[in-house]
């Protein structure tokens, strides 16, 4: 990993979905650079291509053309197995639906990404406990997702995203399923992580949420419309 390189460097990235004779350009020549330690929101209405952008940034999908360097590493033409490893080591995901496994305790959920990178069991437990303590859930490690509130579940998910010490935390509508109280809680946590030096990209269509970040990338029809610094930075 190149320390000096930007965390995300997209150059003329495009994504075309084909279904039969129909082809849809979900993303057209997007170029975007996100530096280490930035807190960026990608905002736009549905169909603007922000989800596709998030999938490509998250190595869940590969671009049709263009190049993508994640932390200095070219991931635009990687094989499925390599992509899985990149996701495991470099990216922490936070989803709108939390996506915790209901049958596992909070601790086991947080341990999960470490299990896929073959971290020994004892170390897994220590690191997962640390991550859960970090999000303020040290008392709830043995609870299952069903026994936690929405806000608590999302904090478990953030702990899971943190536990691998990734270069990038990618949050896809992390507050979309939360009430306003929990939304503030989660945003406060993400802001705190940002202050601690984490690189965070947040996908949202909510203006209030985007405003909590440092920079907003506006998307429209598969293109980057404009970028603006938010008040929190401008101030």
């Amino acid at each position: 990993m190149n320390i000096d390189a930007p965390v995300i460097e997209l150059v003329d990235v495009g994504k075309t979905y084909r279904s039969g004779s129909l082809s849809v350009d979900a993303l057209r020549d997007v170029s975007l650079v996100i530096g280490s330690g930035e807190f960026v929101a990608v905002s736009g209405p549905s169909g603007s291509g922000k989800s596709t952008l998030m999938h490509i940034m998250g190595c869940l999908d590969v671009p049709t053309h263009g190049t993508y360097h994640l932390a200095g590493e070219d991931v635009s033409a990687m094989h499925e197995d390599e992509l899985a490893d990149v996701r495991n080591r470099r990216i922490g995901f936070v989803f709108q639906q939390f996506n915790l496994l209901p049958s596992l305790t909070a601790l086991r959920n947080v341990e999960l990404p470490l299990a896929y990178s073959a971290v020994p069991r004892a170390e897994r437990r220590t690191r997962a406990l640390e991550a859960l303590a970090h999000v303020g859930l040290a008392e709830r490690v043995e609870h299952r997702p069903g026994e936690l509130s929405g806000g608590q579940q999302q904090r478990v998910a953030i702990a899971r995203a943190l536990v691998t010490e990734p270069a990038l935390i990618l949050a896809d509508e992390p507050t979309g399923n939360l009430d306003s109280g929990s939304t503030l809680e989660v945003l406060a946590l993400l802001t705190e992580l940002h202050h601690a030096g984490r690189t965070i990209v947040l996908i949202t269509h909510e203006h209030d949420v985007a405003a909590a970040t440092g920079r907003v990338v506006h998307m429209m029809d598969g293109r980057v419309l404009d970028e603006s610094l938010t008040e929190s930075v401008a101030r």
């Binding site: 999938h55 998250g58 869940l60 999908d61 499925e80 197995d81 899985a84 490893d85 996701r87 495991n88 080591r89 995901f93 989803f95 639906q97 996506n99 496994l101 049958s103 596992l104 999960l112 990404p113 299990a115 896929y116 990178s117 073959a118 899971r160």
Partner: protein, 410 residues
């Protein structure tokens, strides 16, 4: 992901859908139990037949006079001529000429009326040598068998079959009593234990006398020198065919006959009776086993069905695991382990049900059920194999799911 974690995850997935997993396991369980019980039933029935036939005398060859094979020219049919002699039996007993023969018992038999002071009974009197007891695998209930010395001296002794003793002495101790055959008084020295064989009825109704006594003192006419049957015991069941060859060659040479087609005797082996009896059982076992195997196949399809449902239902989970860095191979392995856990559970429970069934079933059917540990282990392995075989397709489907499609599903 390490194997321990994969197996643990597999068990957790099976446990978290108790009802569904239970029903799937039930399918495998029934198949495995059915296979184990049918195979056990077949084994038991074959074992029973084998035991019954072995009870007649293990590793036994029966040499009868005459020939049952029809040839050209005038020749007597089976049993019509007394072509076997004491000399034949003595030749077969020779260790150098026939090393695979353990013992030989020539017999000469005739219907005879046994008379005591108070009753009489007509039965089959058999003159033989002391080796008869061993060759026919019989035991004595009381007293003793006659000895070689008594045979050589044509002593006036007799050993009675259990039912013959009952007829003549009706409960009194027959040992030391006197029985007359053809006006020759014979002392009863022993009584045979019941043979337990349900086959021939006259096994327990017989009177055994030394061969020489029968030949020289009791029977007249052709019975004096002739031997009606020679019983030959092979050293082991493995050497039965060798003993068969030796017997045939020896007798052909003694009788001056060159080819076995012209032989004036017939050799029957226990094996021929055994194979005839067991072939019926085997056909039945194959038939039932086939039905059981089909039920196992249905159980396997059940596993596939459940795994496919499981994949569809857990699309989000698969997507999440992939997003967290699970390679397709790891996802495939996880679902295969899950399917084999179902198979393993079905196999183990099926064997347990089979064991219980093996205890209960003999009360309803006459045949015993023989379960072998090897077959039980094989059944468990087969059950796991079924889980894996029918899990491959659903597992590959799960592994191929694109993480974005999987995560998008609500």
């Amino acid at each position: 992901m390490s194997w321990i974690d994969t197996v643990r995850t597999g068990f957790e997935a099976v446990r978290s859908h108790r009802l569904r997993s239970g029903l799937t396991v039930l399918g495998i369980l029934i198949g495995i139990a059915a296979v184990i019980l049918t195979v056990g039933l077949g084994e038991g029935a074959q074992g029973q037949v084998r035991a019954q036939i072995n009870a007649l005398g293990s590793n036994l060859l029966i040499v009868s006079p005459g020939s049952s094979t029809s040839g050209g020219g005038l020749r007597g049919g089976f049993g019509s001529a007394s072509t076997l002699t004491r000399a034949d039996a003595d030749a077969l007993a020779s260790k150098t000429a026939a090393p695979d023969i353990a013992a030989v018992a020539p017999t000469t038999s005739s219907s005879a009326t046994l008379i005591t002071s108070s009753s009489n009974w007509t039965t089959n009197a058999v003159g033989t040598t002391p080796s008869w007891l061993r060759v026919r695998a019989r035991k004595l209930d009381s007293g003793r068998f006659f000895t070689d010395t008594e045979n050589r001296n044509a002593a006036a002794v007799v050993v009675l079959g259990s039912s013959t003793a009952d007829q003549l002495f009706s409960g009194r101790d027959p040992i030391g009593q006197t029985v007359s055959i053809n006006n020759v008084p014979l002392q009863v020295v022993g009584v045979l234990a019941p043979s337990g064989s349900s086959g021939s009825t006259n096994d327990d109704d017989t009177a055994l006398v030394p061969f020489n006594t029968a030949a020289q003192r009791l029977f007249g006419g052709s019975a004096r020198t002739a031997v009606s049957t020679i019983y030959v015991e092979a050293t082991s069941s493995g050497s039965l065919s060798a003993a068969y060859q030796e017997t045939q060659q020896e007798l052909l040479a003694l009788h001056g006959t060159s080819s076995s087609a012209n032989a004036d005797f017939t050799i029957t082996s226990q094996q021929s009776i055994l194979s005839a009896a067991t072939s019926v059982d085997r056909t039945l076992t194959i038939l039932l086993g086939g039905i059981a195997a089909i039920s196992l196949l249905v159980g396997g399809i059940g596993v596939m069905n459940i795994m496919l449902v499981s994949v569809t239902e857990r699309v989000r989970e698969i997507g999440l695991r992939k997003a967290l860095g699970a390679r397709p191979r790891v996802i495939r392995r996880q679902f295969l382990v899950e399917a084999s856990v179902l198979g393993l559970a079905g196999g183990v429970l099926g064997v347990l049900v089979g064991l219980v069934g093996a205890k209960i079933l003999p009360h309803f059917v006459s045949s015993p059920v023989t379960l072998s540990p090897a077959a039980s282990c094989a059944a468990i392995v087969i059950a796991i194999g079924i889980g894996i075989a029918f899990g491959v397709y659903p597992a590959s489907r799960a592994a191929r799911l694109a993480p974005i499609d999987a995560l998008r599903t609500e």
